[in-house]
Symmetry: D2
């Protein structure tokens, strides 16, 4: 089968690099077109990119020219990891020109007609694009994935919400520095330190979680009927967001019920055996001191969410810890899985 | 004025070292007697102790002999930072023999007749020792300070609880490695990592907080009428526990009311101008990204609790961040301030 | 082909864990027998071992019983990563009883009749065991690999020494904490710090380097005719020793000559295609700021030495940086490659 | 005595902030004028500066206006910590206009008529400014201090060079991130990593060391008659450059002679009792594992160089470790001490 050509907007950034790394031996997609800011345009990718991913830059990527962020020569399927300062307009321009924009940027996530998608959680929300294309008169479309902190939270909540219903969610994050991109967090700010603030992050977690776990009805998403509160902190960790989570349910559940809900949870990516799908979307660790970044962040090639320490919460009902790889499952891998679902469901034909 | 002689149980440990460092130029107390485990007994302190505090070991401490943990030659006032595996019996033995044991160990904190004391929060609880001495037929007494994670939480809660009443408290900690003593946390466990578990810590925070903010009535403490839930995490930080806190109140309050309650809060240590008392027990930072370990942990020589980021909590009512120095305010400094209050109130005459 | 059964002395330590991890899918060897200190003996490996390697413990290892460090039930081929406090006598006891002891411990490295072996450097030194067995009247034998800091140095020196001769070597190391085992270096000692001392390390590097690059003549090794000086430092890095090296040669060489000597260097492990042999024993990075732990430590599954920054040294002649994985190439992988060479050369028949 | 007004070029950078912090309670100097890049000019210092020093910004600094880097309103004495991209021309412009520019920038350090000055090492070099003013027809002058890595090296070498003469110096540095300014080194580059390259640093150390230890003859400096080789590495440390040093001498010396030379070393800043002078320019630690950043970097308020581990070097003659605070002794404190010497010697009248 001939692979589908894909382009990347924001190819030189941290998430752009992850896209290129994850796509290196992808069975369906092939990177053929790269674009970045004017500063990089006109150079080859090898010249323009300060490669920061541990695995070496794929040999095929280095000679590719870096284009301006303009449609035209670009292939139909476009991954976007543009800075949110510019992503809004550029993504619309590409969608208008007929491209399928699978975006990691935050700009359009909360647009009523744009799917905010986790294939393991709300694959049906993809249907929103019909309204989107109709209303906006676009030949293309925009599909988004959530913020890197939201995604681990929602992956761990979805099996619970489906079975018992959620009333309240309290989440405190300890977020890795790679979430801030490159150069991102200065060493002088975080070595031996904790920064109890990440601009806009708490608001994103609080609203995105409710859209993701909301119901699609009549071409719109009814926000999930529960309350979310987030405390977001930056910690001296390279990759992997750890989250301390407390929840109150709508229906009583025992610890064993919740653990079983996590363990048996499967969704469309698993049914379709999508190439980037984790076999176990949620992995439950039994050890008293897990999940830990050091041991668990790369579980299922960084695509699983790992949970542990489920125990009663005196204030809400249950508390536990979740861990998710923020630049794989929380960014490039999330968008890639979105594109795989779209391909499987015929949106890229 | 002649200084009062003091002894230290567990003098070679991290908290023991902090006692010696804080007492170096103390106006009221003078270190004259040191004791530690059998392994150290018989050596001089300079030989026995692997000094880990940044400030150099006081010259006067090095030649002091290290005794076994037996009363007899020890002075009346004894600070204890013994390991909880042995502290229980040894502290009782000293109290029985007539010593005033001011302990940082966890063993007796929840005993009904033992004060669990923060002079800035519940100085009246000290009166519990009358019942203690009566019932136990001791010539001496035991007074304790809370766990290092509890203390920052309670210092930040006390001004709010006094004025508005507390209903619910949710706390997620990011705790420094010095809280685990020395050698404590292996580098291989925490460099670039987060450990979402500290044995027994969550239980201590949940019960100590309610005793500290409880009411003394008829020689016993009625536990505070509110619920506490704690998530405790270890992070790669040397000194300073950062806490993400959400609270629900009994009486409505505006953000400005809470900030004012923190700012104007003063208690007996400030009235008595105790030598180790912070002038401002709670310091409120206005910056959006504070408190931070790097800038704030040494505020008021490590004796203040620093708070910031007060904002509404969608699940409870308010949320904020607190920071406290875990081996000063959370351990040696806490016990020292307890002893200062006891001296000022005539318990050491 | 039936795999050869192997045993591990010191199986619960950091290097013992690496042995088990590296041997998991080994084509020639199979772990069948484990031994450790009396504290662990009698338990299963899963119970006794605090597993610290990022990859999960092999399923086959968990149920194996942990034996005392006594020969008898042990298979012929034994890997030893015992603490040097006990390794000396135990290894001799096993060799005397007929076992082939392939040891990572330092005790016998400098014994005149014990091979100190890097298969990529001095495979001929293995012949020393003939004298060893003859003189000691052993049915078995002891073969050792060098210290973790020595090995990266010598791998980078060998191609140069072969071609141009060495006169002087100056090496300053920046060593990872995993070199100190587990629990090893306390976080309080190294977070944000440098420790300019590692007991015995400089002496080991200075003498082992000369034995490794010495000539085998008449069943003894004539020490290499050059001088070595080592400065050893501990740094807050998990795995990977970085070394700043200056050298003076016996024959003049250009930078291009040295780089070519590194690039084309191959030795017996490459000729024999031993399972753990790196294809390129020495990898030369051209970037101005490499090798770096982050990007290069796992090169060739941690078995290659990575060099870079070759430039003139005003004091000696040339200077460069070398990097080597200290618990793989510098310990368990080193011993494993030794055993593979011994198997290929008929020492295990 | 009325304090002398001073200005700071590059006031918002890391070294500029250190100037302001060190000058807060200075007995001779008072900060009255601040300048920075066009981006900051026009704001108050409090608005323009992202303050990163642990001690809080002095209250007196916050309301000061930030000027453009133009002479005119500036006081006579100017400290410069400008980026080397712009420092060259701006400093000349100020000197030409009559200002005494005490610079931490690298641009003019090697100019034949510009003193490269460490008051504890080569106070007589200050006399170079006579030739400078004469030849350049300047009413003002430029005086410089060395690179942050050079200064600790030279402080430790000076007592040895004076007494025994130096032939060869080999230095490998492990440099803190604060040396790269702010934002400086991205966390993703250095957390758990070592970077074996700092642009231009090795060349600076090699040439500045020889100028500093050179002899002033006939209004020029004859470079020191010894060879220097530097390896420079970046490590995950906040403040404090650690250096592994080997030396060969011109006259034989015993270890005790060298230690005595260090201990008794005093120079003009000590004789003159300059306000920022360390009482002991070189502190010798006897412990086998010192100096360490954690314990020693703030010795004498960051103005002393701390040495230890003196032992024979097989390749040269002696080897030892030195530690120096890179933004105090190595930058702002260095320039401040230069200005104090100039004031004491009448250059500011």
């Amino acid at each position: 089968m001939k692979k589908l050509e894909v382009g990347i907007l924001g190819a030189t950034g941290m998430v752009g690099q992850r896209f290129i790394s994850l796509l290196e031996h992808h069975p369906w997609f092939e990177v053929k077109w790269l674009a970045a800011s004017d500063r990089s345009a006109g150079k080859t990718y090898g010249e323009a990119c300060n490669w920061r991913v541990r695995d070496a830059m794929p040999k095929s990527a280095a000679p590719l020219p870096v284009h301006e962020c303009k449609p035209g020569s670009a292939p139909k399927l476009i991954f976007s990891s543009l800075d949110s300062k510019v992503a809004g307009e550029i993504e619309k321009e590409f969608a208008h020109a007929g491209h399928v924009v699978v975006s990691n940027s935050s700009n359009h996530r909360m647009d009523a007609d744009v799917p905010l998608l986790i294939p393991d959680v709300n694959p049906d929300h993809l249907a929103l694009v019909r309204a989107q294309r109709h209303e906006r008169k676009w030949k293309g479309m925009i599909v988004t994935n959530p913020n890197c902190t939201t995604i681990g939270l929602v992956m761990s909540l979805a099996p619970i919400e489906r079975q018992f219903g959620l009333a309240k969610v309290m989440m405190t994050s300890m977020q890795a520095v790679s979430g801030a991109g490159y150069p991102g967090v200065p060493t002088l700010d975080i070595l031996g330190n904790i920064i109890p603030y990440i601009g806009g992050e708490e608001e994103k977690v609080e609203r995105e979680t409710r859209k993701l776990l909301g119901k699609l009805t009549d071409s719109r998403v009814e926000m999930g009927n529960f309350i979310v509160s987030a405390h977001c902190n930056r910690v001296p960790v390279e990759d992997g967001h750890t989250e301390s989570i407390s929840i109150a349910l709508r229906t009583p559940a025992q610890a064993a019920d919740i653990a079983a809900a996590w363990r048996k949870y499967r969704s469309r990516p698993q049914e379709l055996e999508l190439p980037s799908a984790p076999k176990h979307p949620v992995i439950v660790r039994e050890e008293k001191d897990r999940p830990q970044v050091k041991f668990d962040v790369d579980s299922e090639r960084g695509m699983a969410t790992v949970v542990g320490r489920l125990r009663p919460c005196p204030v809400l009902e249950w508390k536990y810890t979740a861990l998710s790889h923020n630049t794989i499952r929380g960014a490039a891998g999330a968008a890639l899985l979105n594109a795989e679902l779209m391909k499987a469901d015929g949106y890229l034909d």
